[in-house]
């Protein structure tokens, strides 16, 4: 089942453009009519939805940023009454407030169809056993994946809190054939397999579909050769959309964008001008079929490029590269987006009178992203009772886990150490 939705995946470009135009126009009309934020934004620059006469005209409209999501918390960007919302999805977000996304009943069905399409392109069949291993920060994706795979008719093991060894045991015993996870967790699993002497030959795995992080060619080759499987990549911004906005087909030569549901722009980071195929820029997404939460020109902060030319698989949907990096300060840790300011806020909330500096140290351990907070030692922190300090740091770790879903370690460092890095407080040392 290579094509889940062959008619739309192989649609003539001319027909696709008509569909995109119609959906974009009605989305803009609804957003302008129902969402005060969009009305204000459009009015401020004197643009009316009636001014859009081609899909390319989207560049006349304003961007939506993660800050806008925070400013309109919780329901400010919803385009339907709450009575129509059947699912409220929260993620930690990258501002001080969580990100709230709503779905209507129909919206969930649309998401399910988009997810099934991308999983089918990745090789998921109704005869498969599918295992989902994502960290709690990606639980919205976990639900989308579960629904999409069940819709195909596969047997699905949803996300769970089992440790890696148990996950592997399950994979072996339940005869998992497709694993859905992040690239780094897949690499970590291979390491753990070695340490517990689990032979790849005892697994029934045929494919891993990875998402949430960049997949390097080296990682792909290592996973494919170590496990004798096929690796496919998928893309989506984890905080506001599902994981299958773009996905690899069997050709593995770029990610097909579900263009009938999402309008994807790549813009130059400095000028906001559209990038030509092959030129790397920021991914900007507009939702074409979302009724409850229609994001318009959402700046994802992810960097990628478009790929020109047609794909031998027969899909006419345009292709993009995998994510090559990120703009600005937003970090992606184990697939979850985190802004350093969020950590700053939590530290200041957890430690009374905190006035010293801190740095965020990111590194890899057994292929997994590790987060270490370097706190500068000073008088305010330094209590003569070790017990008190321990309790403070424990509370801080718990707070970060609770608010951001991140396991961190905390290291107390000298002022000179922080000084060596010549970074402002909240700076990031990324050694991944």
């Amino acid at each position: 089942m290579t094509f889940w939705d062959g008619e739309n995946e192989r649609i003539k470009r001319e027909d696709l453009e008509q569909v995109q135009l119609e959906r974009l126009q009605s989305t803009l009309n609804r957003a302008y009519k129902n969402v005060p934020f969009y009305r204000k934004e459009f009015d401020a620059i004197g643009i009316d939805p009636g001014a859009l006469s081609s899909v390319q005209d989207i560049t006349k409209f304003p961007f939506t940023t993660r800050e806008d999501l925070g400013d309109n918390y919780p329901y400010g960007l919803f385009a339907v009454p709450l009575r129509d919302i059947v699912r409220i999805s929260s993620s930690t977000g990258t501002t001080l407030k969580p990100v709230v996304v709503g779905y209507t009943m129909r919206g969930l069905k649309v998401r399910e169809a988009i997810t099934s399409r991308f999983l089918a392109a990745g090789g998921v069949l109704d005869t498969d056993v599918v295992q989902i291993c994502l960290n709690p920060g990606l639980s919205n994706w976990g639900r989308a994946l579960k629904e999409g795979a069940e819709h195909i008719g596969a047997s699905v093991m949803p996300m769970s809190h089992m440790g890696t060894t148990k996950q592997l045991l399950t994979m072996q015993d339940y005869k998992t054939s497709v694993l859905l996870t992040t690239p780094s967790y897949a690499m970590h699993m291979v390491e753990v397999m070695k340490s517990i002497n689990m032979d790849a030959g005892t697994l029934s795995l045929k494919a891993i579909i990875v998402m949430g992080e960049a997949l390097s060619q080296e990682m792909r080759e290592r996973l494919e050769s170590a496990l004798k499987i096929d690796v496919r990549a998928a893309y989506g911004p984890s905080d506001v959309m599902g994981p299958g906005i773009a996905f690899e087909c069997a050709e593995k030569n770029g990610l097909h964008i579900s263009e009938d549901h999402f309008l994807l722009e790549i813009i130059a980071s400095d000028s906001d001008a559209p990038c030509a195929p092959g030129e790397t820029g920021e991914v900007v997404l507009t939702m074409l079929t979302a009724k409850a939460f229609p994001l318009i020109r959402f700046r994802t902060g992810d960097l990628a490029f478009k790929i020109a030319g047609s794909c031998p698989c027969g899909r006419t949907l345009e292709r993009m590269s995998g994510i090559t990096g990120h703009t600005g300060e937003v970090l992606t840790i184990r697939g979850v987006k985190v802004h350093p300011a969020q950590i700053d806020r939590i530290i200041k909330g957890a430690i009374k009178g905190f006035s010293s500096r801190f740095l965020i140290h990111l590194y890899k351990e057994s292929h997994l992203d590790m987060t270490e907070i370097w706190l500068e030692m000073n008088d305010a922190l330094f209590s003569d009772e070790m017990k008190v300090l321990d309790a403070t740091l424990k509370y801080l770790r718990e707070q970060i886990l609770e608010i951001l879903g991140l396991h961190v370690t905390i290291r107390l460092v000298e002022a000179e150490t922080i000084g060596e890095y010549e970074k402002p407080s909240g700076g990031v040392i990324d050694e991944r």
């Binding site: 027909d15 008509q18 569909v19 135009l21 119609e22 959906r23 126009q25 009605s26 009309n29 609804r30 009519k33 939805p49 009636g50 001014a51 859009l52 006469s53 329901y75 919803f78 339907v80 009454p81 709450l82 009575r83 129509d84 209507t104 009943m105 129909r106 069905k109 079929t289 009724k291």
Partner: protein, 249 residues
């Protein structure tokens, strides 16, 4: 088959259509639904050339038809069944049908016309029974059948139906909708304007929802049928505030 992009139309200074785009694929039934005054009929009238529009493009089978005179548009293969039937009341049923083939008489397609008349009579046996009757004395449902039959006599590829259910009893509406479905089975493509959203979505493949001249929603008919906005419009119920219908502690 039909592809409309960015249609803008005015009635005097009032904007009747604001950037309307839609398409109809061969063999589809597409519904255009919305409240009174939303611009539904205006869309049909611009397609058939009855009213002019200020901006936009209408393509039929890959040729641009905007700006063409109505008879050229009929000749290209588009026939409209107007709102309120507008049959020629003093003429007989048969004469009404023959008038529908007026352009073809001019082209001397007499044989084809006779066989099409037979086809219309097959589709609507009632019209055959009453072929000699004065059209003005037919019932509402029969008049609607006559109006559709008359449009078919022009041998269209695309049929535009404007409020076929208007003023008809529910049972008759069902009859008319069944007829429209039958027409599609015979290969006809149909764009239908309806205030009776339920009846029209039941038989159509896709639909567009118009609101004050703008398309605010579109999609497969079954999805629209389930859509809360459409249900509200259909039931005439609306939520005044974001929170209405959700209890707050």
């Amino acid at each position: 088959m039909l592809r409309i992009k960015n249609l803008h139309a005015y009635y005097g200074r009032i904007k009747a259509l604001d950037n309307v785009s839609l398409h109809v694929r061969p063999g589809e039934i597409v519904s255009l639904i919305g409240a009174n005054g939303a611009g539904k009929t205006t869309v049909l009238n611009t397609i058939s050339g009855l009213i002019r529009f200020s901006q936009g493009e209408i393509r039929f089978e890959d040729s641009k038809i905007n700006g063409l005179r109505p008879e050229k548009i009929v000749a290209a293969g588009i026939s409209q069944v107007p709102e309120g039937r507008q049959i020629f009341a003093p003429l007989t049923v048969r004469e009404n049908l023959e008038l529908g083939a007026y352009l073809r008489f001019k082209k001397k397609e007499n044989e084809g016309i006779t066989s099409d008349l037979d086809r219309v009579f097959q589709l609507f046996p009632r019209l055959k029974e009453r072929s000699g009757q004065i059209a003005g004395t037919l019932s509402g449902g029969e008049q609607q059948m006559l109006a559709i039959g008359r449009a078919l006599m022009a041998k269209p590829k695309l049929l535009l139906l404007d409020e076929p259910s208007m003023g008809l009893a529910p049972l008759i509406v069902k009859d008319i909708m069944n007829t429209v479905s039958e027409l599609r089975k015979g290969g006809m493509t149909i764009l239908m304007v309806e205030q009776n959203a339920r009846a029209s979505l039941t038989i159509s493949d896709r639909g567009y929802v118009l609101e004050t001249g703008r398309v605010v929603l579109q999609g497969p008919s079954d999805e629209l049928m389930d859509d809360s906005d459409v249900k509200r419009a259909y039931l005439g119920k609306d939520y005044k505030t974001f929170w209405e219908g959700r209890e707050r502690a």
